[in-house]
Symmetry: C2
Subunit: 306 residues, 2 copies
């Protein structure tokens, strides 16, 4: 296994940490005397305190960005969502210029590979210190070419929340990409127990939401749809790029509320995410689904480049 590149983001947020002696405001001068906003570090060494709220409370956020042959077509969308998750979590604003530069540094420091998965993480930091912790890990993306052709078997599982909790109960953090992902990984374990590979979450009142680590895409005739982001799900950066291709190809696209029953009736179904790209669903709750192999291949080719 190759060694990941690790960048510690030492000035991850806009403004000074509490108790800092410097003047407040956005650090924008590269000529000042302060330490660099990020440094490369040895990924085989430990860098996190056991007192970091990122681990003691899952209190932080992340993004996983695909870099394909050196290009990161969705980096801006990921940085937008990174900022949005911080707002939902009441974290200080990530310093976009710093994260962008640190991201570029991580990519540049990694030996060239076809597919790089770059993870950005921001936590609330060590309890009581008011200084967020930030880092970036770049490592070769797992090869999902088999899954892109052979597809995945999916079960629907109740996410437990009503479709409207993001509006009624923002403290449930639906729509934020937080480090509190234990339920997402537990749901995938449950899928495996049921002989499947992955999950599509539904709301307690029967609407289609998202997969634990992907967005859901449906084909209904010549129209492609995804569940609306107002349902407290993540706005999919890959889903957006997939729609761009589908629109180029002349298809209609749109986001709407989808009843779980519509999943069964869909002409085709995909899970789409940064590293896996578009994976066709070949079985839904034990029932075979049709797969459009040609369109799937075209989607995956496009998502690797755009």
């Amino acid at each position: 296994m190759s060694v990941p590149v690790l960048i510690l983001v030492t000035r991850p947020v806009v403004g000074e940490p509490a108790g800092s002696s410097g003047s407040p405001g956005r650090p924008s001068e590269s000529t000042d005397a302060r330490p660099a906003p990020f440094v490369q570090a040895d990924p085989t060494l430990p860098h996190l305190s056991v007192l970091d709220l990122g681990v003691t409370r899952g209190d932080g956020e992340f993004e996983t960005v695909m870099v394909s042959q050196g290009a990161a077509p969705a980096i801006d969308a990921h940085l937008d969502r990174f900022a949005a998750s911080a707002r939902l979590l009441d974290l200080p604003e990530p310093d976009r210029a710093v994260w962008r530069a640190a991201f570029d540094a991580a990519v540049a420091a990694h030996p060239p590979v076809e597919l790089l998965a770059v993870k950005l993480v921001l936590t609330r930091g060590i309890e009581g210190k008011d200084t967020p912790t930030g880092w970036i890990v770049a490592q070769p993306g797992r090869d999902f070419s088999r899954e892109r052709v052979e597809g995945v078997r999916v079960v629907t599982l109740d996410r437990g929340y009503r479709h409207d909790v993001a509006t009624t109960s923002p403290w449930l953090l639906q729509g934020a990409k937080t480090l509190s992902y234990a339920v997402n990984t537990a749901a995938i374990r449950e899928a495996k127990r049921r002989g499947a590979d992955d999950v599509i979450f539904t709301s307690s009142d029967g609407f289609v939401l998202e997969a634990p680590t992907a967005s859901v895409l449906l084909r209904e005739g010549d129209r492609f749809v995804t569940p609306s982001a107002e349902l407290g799900i993540l706005p999919g950066t890959t889903q957006r790029r997939a729609f761009a291709l589908l629109e180029e190809l002349g298809y209609e696209t749109g986001a709407k509320r989808l009843r779980s029953s519509e999943l069964g009736r869909a002409d085709a179904l995909w899970l789409v995410s940064s590293i896996r790209r578009a994976v066709p669903v070949v079985e839904l709750d034990g029932v075979a689904k049709c797969v459009d192999r040609e369109l799937t291949a075209r989607l995956n080719e496009y998502l690797g480049e755009h």
Copy 2:
């Protein structure tokens, strides 16, 4: 601030880690050639990998144990719950003897203080390595004597889940004390925005659950009740000790399903947890609650000793 004591639990679970060369089975001999099952470490240094699933997915569990003047009356109940959370999370079984010995070592290594808060953490470990990470941090417990007398203002907030999800949807991990606590901390921030100090969560169908870091105790005449654990809440180790005293005093105690409306009608209300002990609720959703100061003082005295 004093320096916490940190113990790294190097053999946290029963059985050998995957790929280990030793013979399988429970490590029970202290005379074998393997490294010690735990070691003391410098808490001011980083000890966690940024690739640990404890931080990247909030995938792990914890317990916070009170040690009052050297005694840990609830340690067995905490170790029971630690094992139960591991089962709910499909983590390997924590090696109880190792954790107990490591806990004792943490307490012994800390300078004597009136109140020590000892946190036990077990994560799924570094992604792809199949070796859980474990550690214990012992540090002086925050002084909550003011809150025990003056009480806390509480708001009820929807936990988003129906009362029965622990049964219908075990992948939601309700009833496990996981590291994915971002919602719990977000709820407390929401309470502060509303001018309160803490939260009592209710189910989406109107049942009383628990506080983000405490159990709920109600007085109804000469009867004391707490919401049943079948509602997907943590079985409270402190609540159990509180009931022991109340029974000694001749009161009736019990667990049942409580409608949120019953909170308002209760004669008195407490949040009970290891370090804070019994904190009276002086205001519920903006309405003042009666406080039985004498009984509260007696509860807190007892909880500090038993």
